[in-house]
């Protein structure tokens, strides 16, 4: 009896000191704000646009407005294509890094990481001056006599896609790199020895063994894509809103925090659904860096 009591205490103190801080962190910075958002999403606003704690489902009813539905669809569309492009560009690149000699590997890896040190807003503005009507790209093309009048590159869905891919590319490359690096070179050699050609080895050996990286990367790219309102604002010129824009607007000029909260809940539900699909497909939560 005394012995078990003793061991209980012996376990409690280390448990509190090690798990305690993170539990508090999660409680105060994640759980409570989440509950607050959920509660607010059922509130209404008073005549001064303040949040008033009168229960209503109006915010959720407004979420089914056809314009909103079209914007959700547009967000998913942009996020989907961003993810596909990131996979197509990221996989060969990650493979190349993972298989490079160690000295070059470090340099290549840095090439992905270093741009992270500059604020993404600044980098996105950089694209804007690069692609503008009188921007660098148009100037160069005109100097080379490839075009006579400036091409309108900016302010469409294409440039939003470009901005999203540009911002989120590293999130695809890093999990892919980790997955490909773990791949045992002997398996590829074995496959070749047994007569499989390159394409067959890729589809039956390499890809299945690194698919966890593809899944993890896809989640890491797809989810932020739904909320990156600044990319659609700056490179899309505000013409093609994503869910992030809707949320931002309700907390700003729209002055309707409860509606913004309800929109946030939709975003959270979409995120949870995607993670669920990811798990169903056999994705490993640890590959997401958690």
């Amino acid at each position: 009896m005394t012995k078990s009591k003793h061991s209980l205490r012996a376990n409690t103190i280390p448990a509190i000191t090690t798990v305690g801080p993170i539990t508090l962190w999660l409680l105060f910075l994640v759980a409570i704000p989440l509950v607050y958002v959920l509660v607010m999403s059922f509130c209404s606003i008073d005549e001064f646009y303040n949040v008033s704690y009168h229960f209503t489902l109006d915010n959720y009813k407004r979420l089914f407005d056809t314009n909103y539905l079209q914007i959700y669809a547009q967000s998913l569309f942009i996020a989907f294509f961003t993810t596909v492009i990131c996979i197509l560009l990221g996989y060969p690149f990650a493979y190349f890094i993972a298989r490079a000699v160690s000295k070059r590997k470090a340099i290549l890896y840095m090439l992905v990481i270093v741009p992270f040190w500059t604020n993404s807003l600044i980098r996105i503005y950089g694209w804007r001056s690069f692609l503008g009507t009188n921007g660098w790209l148009n100037t160069i093309l005109m100097k080379l006599n490839l075009i006579n009048t400036p091409v309108e590159f900016l302010y469409n869905r294409g440039t939003i896609l470009l901005g999203m891919v540009y911002c989120l590319f590293p999130f695809m490359v890093i999990p892919l790199y980790t997955a490909i690096e773990k791949l045992d070179q002997n398996l590829i050699e074995a496959s070749n020895d047994l007569g499989a050609r390159g394409i067959y080895t890729f589809s039956h050996v390499i890809l299945p063994l690194t698919i966890s990286g593809v899944f993890a990367g896809s989640i890491m790219v797809f989810i932020p894509c739904l909320g990156f309102f600044f990319v659609s604002d700056i490179l899309g010129g505000g013409n093609s809103d994503v869910i992030g824009n809707l949320i931002e607007r309700q907390f700003q000029s729209g002055n309707n925090w409860p509606l913004g909260a309800a929109l946030s809940i939709i975003l959270i539900l979409m995120t949870l659904l995607l993670v669920r699909i990811y798990q169903k497909l056999g994705g490993d939560m640890e590959s997401l860096g958690v």
């Binding site: 994640v30 001064f48 314009n67 001056s129 013409n239 729209g254 002055n255 959270i268």
Partner: protein, 351 residues
């Protein structure tokens, strides 16, 4: 447990994108420090330093970039966290309605005679009981005359189909929908659903002409040549004109959308006298001149404007003609049902 933590991590990821838009910081100190909360790039350092030198009062400036940010911050901080804030017209009204402002003691405002009567006694604060205007502007039209050869005289002209994909407009739903309403003879603050239906149709017909929504720096698109027409603040046009002489300012014959930003003392202010001294100092002609030199907004301080010289006075973008201003209209707070309709129109325009 691991699964839960993992899920929570993903939620943090999602939440962080939501919260990215909400920011801001403040430092509060007690004593003779005046906590002044103003718009970004709006109050020159030099004027504040002058004030500190002359009075020995230390000024702690913090900045915001939207009226709504400011309101939320003032409400969430403890009373007295800010001694002076700088809300726009409609926000002054909203703050007065919620009893958030201290009355101004006019006896202490000895420089009030410097102000132009045209901007005093405004609809949002009759008698200037709670607010004194600082700077303002009009929702003007900018035209790049190198490319647009027609004469533009009104908001209605911006809707012409030949200007497809030429326009940069303020990323502000009340400004744009109000402009569309004015172009067909209504006001900035319509709330009648039948009228709003017509306004909606008119607003949506502008979609094809709008290339870009930008409130932060609409001049950039004009200067870079991305857009040839703009519906933006007169001060932005003034700055664009300095970069490109072909750009001209037009005040619409329907009367422009107007805004005025004001000095207001929030309720519970801890340094009322110092705050009044600051507001009075900002109304001084010399201070107003320094402000005008750095920020070419509509300056309601006529003594200051007189010191700014002919370059400023004769520049219609920096010093909007009084007949244009007389026809101008402020945005006002509307009921929440109408707000929802405006929001719907805006969402449909921007999707």
């Amino acid at each position: 447990m691991k699964k839960i933590t993992s899920c929570l991590f993903i939620l943090v990821l999602a939440l962080s994108t939501i919260l990215a838009g909400c920011g801001g910081s403040s430092k509060t100190e007690s004593g003779t420090t005046l906590n002044v909360y103003v718009w970004t790039e709006y109050v020159p350092e030099s004027v504040v330093e002058d004030f500190e030198k002359k009075t020995g009062i230390k000024v702690n400036l913090s900045t915001y970039s939207s009226n709504e940010d400011m309101l939320a911050k003032v409400k969430s901080e403890s009373e007295g966290a800010y001694d002076i804030v700088q809300p726009s017209d409609y926000m002054v009204a909203l703050m007065i309605a919620q009893d958030m402002c201290e009355k101004l003691d006019k006896d202490k405002l000895t420089n009030i005679g410097n102000m132009d009567d045209a901007y005093m006694n405004p609809s949002y604060d009759p008698g200037n009981e709670y607010s004194i205007p600082y700077l303002g502007g009009a929702g003007a039209i900018a035209v790049n005359t190198d490319i647009i050869k027609d004469t533009i005289t009104s908001y209605a002209d911006l809707f012409k189909p030949e200007y497809a994909n030429q326009l940069v407009v303020l990323d502000d739903f009340r400004a744009v929908i109000g402009m569309a309403a004015k172009s067909i003879g209504y006001g900035m603050n319509e709330t009648d659903p039948a009228i709003l239906e017509k306004v909606k149709e008119k607003t949506l017909s502008l979609k094809n002409n709008i290339k870009l929504y930008d409130s932060d720096s609409p001049k950039s698109a004009l200067i870079a040549g991305d857009c040839t027409l703009a519906y933006c603040w007169s001060a932005e046009v003034a700055l664009a004109m300095e970069e490109n002489e072909a750009i001209q300012v037009v005040y619409p014959k329907e009367g422009p959308y107007l805004f005025l930003d004001n000095w207001v003392i929030p309720k519970g202010c801890k340094n009322y006298d110092a705050a009044m001294e600051f507001i009075n100092f900002m109304m001084d002609a010399e201070s107003a001149k320094m402000v005008g030199e750095e920020f070419p907004y509509l300056n309601p301080n006529k003594a200051g404007v007189a010191l700014l010289g002919d370059d400023f006075i004769n520049n219609p973008a920096k010093n909007p003609p009084s007949d244009a201003i007389a026809k101008g209209e402020f945005v006002d707070n509307i009921d929440t049902d109408s707000l929802a309709i405006y929001d719907q129109i805006w969402t449909e325009l921007k999707k």
